[in-house]
Amino acid sequence: MSIETIAVRRPETPRLTAALVAILVALLLIGRLGVGEVPAAGTFVLIFTSLVVEALPFVLMGALVSAVIEVYVPVTWFERVARLPLPVQLPTAALGGFAFPVCECGSVPVARRLISKGMHPAAGLAFMLASPILNPIVLASTWVAYSGRGVALEMVAGRAGLGLILALAAGWAIGGDRATELLRPRPGEGEDTHRSSPPTHPARYRSRSRSQIRFGDFTTHLAADFFFMGRFVVLGGAIAALMQTAIPQSIVGGLAETPVIGALSLMGLAFVLSLCSEADAFVAVSFVQFPLGSQLAFLVFGPVVDAKLAFLYGATFRRRFVLRLVAVALPVTLAGSLWFEVAMR
């Protein structure tokens, strides 16, 4: 079930280089011309940079785990996992999120690698969607945030339960059967550094030990994943910061009256804010005018679909993945949050 990767290496484009250098120079000039003193520019830069600074180490951790999986985990292990029936793979992968304490930025490259190495796509997706919600740090921060409201246990249980259901449902509904149907081929991947392929440049390997070759492959995969995911973290962070700078959050305040509208409003806000799942509970608990069910919708929908992730998903998966994910995540989260609201009364 391994994905066929396409080796694409376009020649250097001088015009593109010039354009990108011009962008960087323009940014510097804009700053020096005093635009940075405009309050909105300061807000944007601070939020944008803080999102990237917070996310990049997690992206690196994800890339590191992904590179270890690619280079050091034997292929036979994945073949054994792939032979397990889906009803076993799916919940096991989703529950694996408990043991993977990184945010959503780190889980995407790991899930991609697991799927490309043979894990069932549905199981890989379930792991990717569950780990940012189920991991112990996120559940602990949810507990701390809601302990002052006296509903810490209920919110943690609700978040973990609904997050698990959503991950299983989305994995089952949109995972498909083959990795090639789900994953977008990545330019450059599968070149001579791909361990499972025979080396295309034997001279390169002739005088090197096995451990040197593996270490070289490991660093190449690590850097490739980091730079590939990193660009979308930057792009998504910029969009999220722009929306935070331009759109007043108070516009959703008037939509809190009914649970359905309230939940939909907070899901939309979660998409815009693109918060780290380890911090979002502290923001969710501040929406005091919204019912608890709506706050739960914010906590479950945000780590699965947000502006920053939309770019990461777009780069990792095939077309319309985000739309298909929203088509599953929205009704499941809405129904779960409404049930939670009723149960809490």
Binding site: L24, G31, E54, A203, A223, F226, S250, S286
Partner: protein
């Protein structure tokens, strides 16, 4: 050594150096909250290690005759440039901060200029802060447990986020949990001695709390302009 791998190693080194700068200069407090300070030394070390490993692998490859001089692909170029943008943005706007504009965008609720987090645990001898006053406005029980009410002396340092009339302004400070994206503004209405202060002016205000309707406001006895504190957020 290929151009793209060399460029990648340079960008990884730049990011490691940027994290080192945030760490050593304590500038990290402007971007992150206490719960994620650890990300900065962690990022510095891991990104630096990744850069070093990259260079070692390439040197090994070159020493064993396996290195090839390859051009940089468009994909490489875009990725590398994109990761430079945040660093360039910080250099271009070195004094970026959350101020009155951010308060106007981040405030939530019907007219509320602050939001709730878990109530702080009462600590003997700790003077009331922005969060205490906010909670006291929301909960009589909390106000009574902390002994906050009419006549409570208060000493707050924050920035002006709005001017409501002659000598009346809103003093605010952000609470940050993980990063500036999740910042929550906590505000207190101040009745001052008549001076007008522009938005984003940092002030230290001494005074006493006074009820106005159902809310508490701070009647200032002394207002002093101060430098922005090293850590501009509540923690």
């Amino acid at each position: 050594m290929s151009n793209s791998t060399l460029a990648r190693a340079i960008v990884l080194t730049l990011w490691s150096a940027f994290f080192a700068y945030l760490w050593i200069s304590d500038e990290m407090v402007r971007f992150l909250g206490p719960r994620t300070y650890w990300v900065v030394p962690f990022g510095c070390l891991t990104l630096g290690t990744a850069a070093l490993a990259h260079v070692i692998a390439l040197r090994t490859e070159r020493a064993t005759g396996g290195g090839r001089d390859r051009g940089m692909s468009r994909s490489d170029l875009v990725g590398i440039t994109a990761l430079l943008i945040p660093i360039v943005a910080v250099i271009a706007v070195p004094q970026a901060e959350l101020g009155a504009q951010a308060v106007s965008r981040k405030a939530t609720g019907a007219g509320a200029t602050a939001a709730l987090i878990a109530p702080p645990v009462r600590e003997e001898g700790r003077p009331p802060n922005f969060i205490d006053v906010h909670y006291a406005n929301e909960s009589t029980e909390y106000a009574e447990s902390l002994g906050i009410g009419d006549g409570t002396p208060l000493d707050l340092t924050g920035f002006v986020s709005a001017t409501n009339g002659p000598g009346e302004f809103t003093l605010t400070r952000f609470y940050v949990s993980c990063c500036a994206a999740d910042a929550i503004p906590y505000s207190v209405s101040v009745v001052g001695e008549g001076s007008a202060y522009p938005d984003n002016t940092w002030l230290r205000v001494n005074g006493v709390l006074q009820s106005e309707g159902e809310r508490l406001r701070l009647v200032a006895g002394a207002v002093e302009e101060v430098e922005q504190p090293d850590n501009p957020y509540l923690y």
